[in-house]
């Protein structure tokens, strides 16, 4: 494996059974993602963005072909190894934030570190640092219901970044946010990408997100129709 190649997909196909026929969500996808990329899977609804993101995040497996994430072929991983991969190396940001409502901001961000069995003192420092990255140290005792949409998404970013993963997968992260909040969180993510060299892969059709991307991969009907790298950003 080339060290800078974090993700490689080869002839990746994903089909779903739809009654008595099959629906092809992804068709012959061949992509490579390298360290530090700020890339986006762009396309309309049903183009296969989320499906591809789920496979790259080891939440789903390909029907045919191969997806190699950090040197591990998703097809061959047991559920325990998949969980281990997500636990150690992958961060997720969801459109609906997916924060745990009964936890405080601090507890939500702390959760991935608890799963990593990080010692308490180190865990506390790391959580505080992560909250500082997203500017939410003053809200750490609040619960998600007490936060605005933008703040919730920033908590979600802090939770994804707290374990300093190699890859962050963000599925429509701005879909529920207004323009100002969208730019705020995108700037936060861009900053983290540059400072920590974390690879960000988005699934989006939001123009606000697209303008921040340094690589735009367009999908349509489950196929890559263009793959454009923007230099100078």
């Amino acid at each position: 494996m080339n060290n800078s190649n974090l993700i490689t997909t080869r002839d990746l196909v994903k089909t779903f059974a739809m009654g008595d026929h099959e629906f092809t969500a992804l068709n012959e996808i061949n992509l490579v993602f390298k360290t530090g990329e700020f890339a986006g899977l762009i396309g309309p609804s049903g183009s296969g963005k989320t499906t591809l993101l789920n496979i790259l995040g080891s939440l789903d497996t390909p029907t045919r072909g191969e997806a190699v994430v950090l040197g591990q072929s998703i097809n061959e991983l047991t559920s325990k190894k998949m969980a281990n991969l997500r636990n150690h190396h992958l961060g997720f940001i969801f459109q609906t934030y997916n924060l745990l409502a009964v936890y405080t901001v601090y507890e939500n961000v702390e959760l991935p570190l608890l799963l990593l069995k990080m010692p308490a003192t180190e865990r506390k420092q790391t959580v505080l640092q992560s909250l500082e990255w997203v500017g939410l140290t003053n809200k750490m005792k609040s619960r998600p219901a007490q936060l605005s949409g933008g703040e919730c998404q920033r908590v979600s970013i802090a939770r994804a970044m707290v374990k300093t993963p190699k890859i962050v997968l963000a599925d429509e992260p701005t879909a529920n946010l207004d323009a100002k909040n969208s730019h705020n969180i995108l700037q936060t993510m861009e900053k983290l990408n540059r400072e920590l060299r974390t690879t960000f892969i988005f699934a989006t059709h939001d123009e606000k997100v697209i303008q921040y991307l340094r690589r735009k991969i367009s999908l349509n009907d489950g196929q890559v129709v263009s793959d454009e790298t923007i230099t100078g950003k």
Partner: protein
């Protein structure tokens, strides 16, 4: 597992009212189950103690033909006491009792009774036999409250009794009721008339004979006596033990009802949780948990209800049960007339085994009930769960 415990605790505390309602129902079951078992245990202990103190002492020697359930053998169930036995009686190790059938005529009515003769000076059982010391030539007799109530006899009343002696001759005489005693042991009371042993032996033409020999509780079995069979506590309390077992069985029905109600609440919460918290389940999986770990988390969360319930039950249950144990539980009027050994007040007896046993059973059942709905998690698609899509 520690992580599951930590997260489960956080989830339960976060769920606030929902958690505490379940915990309250479960804690109520804890307290009622322990209280009910405590009442039966208390009754068992108290009744056994009363029966030993009042009736059976440290066990009884029965004349070999004696069978309390066969009235036809009663007239032959007596034997002369050997010299050694007489010495044991004199030393206060044995109390002989002669039993025969008789008929009593209170206020002209006819009533079959068991005539029992006992030494007025015996100290072995608590029956107040000292009242049977003859003072003015009358035959002193005493009866229990139940008998007094049914025969309408009072202290000072004379009543005619008729019996058939060992030679088959019928005779009758008046006895004077000198004492009415109160006991929790109905077999000493209902249908029994107590008179002095010597007088009874004289009436029956059975000088120096007895039907049973009650042993001192401290001595108990003191070697075999020819012609007499020793009956130990286990044998003499068989009927009572069987009744307590039957009561325990009915107690289990109550236990089942209470547990079912509490478990229904837990099961319902778990099913609802898994249905409502799919997004949370998906998020846990995305953050690096396996489906198995999520199942453990949800199971621990459900099972933890019983731990919290045990704590809550201890908070209000210990003072409540301790108070109950000190003041006792008054039995409904008439319970004592039902022919069972029971005090007017039963003092519940709780043991560590009872409390721990109940806690462990509730914990195991709650864990199983909590686990059953969580198996559904293993069938969930993580990608759908993350989106909260109903599966």
């Amino acid at each position: 597992m520690l992580l599951a415990l930590k997260l489960a605790y956080r989830n339960l505390m976060g769920a606030k009212l929902r958690t505490w309602l379940n915990v309250l129902v479960l804690s109520f079951s804890f307290v009622v189950i322990i209280w009910q078992k405590g009442i039966i245990n208390g009754w068992d202990q108290q009744a056994q103690r009363d029966t030993k103190d009042w009736e059976i002492g440290g066990g009884q020697y029965w004349q070999e033909d004696y069978d309390p359930y066969d009235p036809f053998v009663l007239e032959d169930s007596h034997a002369r006491l050997s010299d050694a036995t007489e010495r044991a009686v004199a030393k206060g190790k044995l109390a002989p009792i002669l039993i025969s059938q008789a008929t009593m005529y209170p206020e002209g009515r006819i009533q079959n009774i068991l005539l029992k003769g006992i030494d007025p000076n015996q100290q072995i059982i608590e029956l107040p036999s000292s009242n049977l010391v003859s003072k003015n030539g009358n035959i002193p007799a005493m009866i229990g409250r139940r008998n007094a109530k049914s025969s309408k006899l009072k202290i000072g009343d004379y009543v005619t009794i008729r019996w058939r002696d060992a030679k088959g001759a019928f005779d009758a005489e008046e006895v004077r009721i000198v004492h009415i005693f109160k006991t929790n042991v109905p077999t000493l009371d209902a249908g029994v008339l107590w008179i002095p042993l010597k007088k009874h032996q004289e009436m029956m033409n059975l000088s120096g004979e007895a039907t049973i020999l009650v042993t001192n509780q401290e001595t108990g079995f003191d070697g075999s006596i020819v012609g007499w069979d020793f009956k130990d506590h286990y044998f003499l309390l068989t009927e009572f033990r069987q009744m307590i077992e039957a009561k325990n069985a009915s107690g289990y029905v109550m236990f089942l009802i209470l547990m079912s109600l509490a478990m229904l609440a837990i099961f319902d919460t778990q099913v609802l949780s898994i249905f409502r918290r799919q997004k949370e389940i998906g998020t846990h999986i995305a953050l690096g948990m396996t489906q198995k770990q999520v199942i453990v988390l949800f199971t621990v969360e459900g099972a933890m209800h019983s731990v919290l319930a045990a704590i809550l039950a201890a908070v209000y249950g210990i003072p409540l049960l301790a108070y109950q144990a000190s003041v006792g539980w008054t039995m409904p009027a008439g319970t004592g007339d039902m022919g069972i050994t029971i005090a007017e007040k039963v003092y519940p007896a709780y043991s560590l085994g009872l409390v721990l046993g109940t806690t462990v059973i509730v914990l195991i059942v709650t864990t199983i009930v909590s686990f059953l709905p969580t198996r559904r998690i293993s069938k969930m698609r993580p990608t759908d769960a993350i989106r909260g899509k109903i599966q």
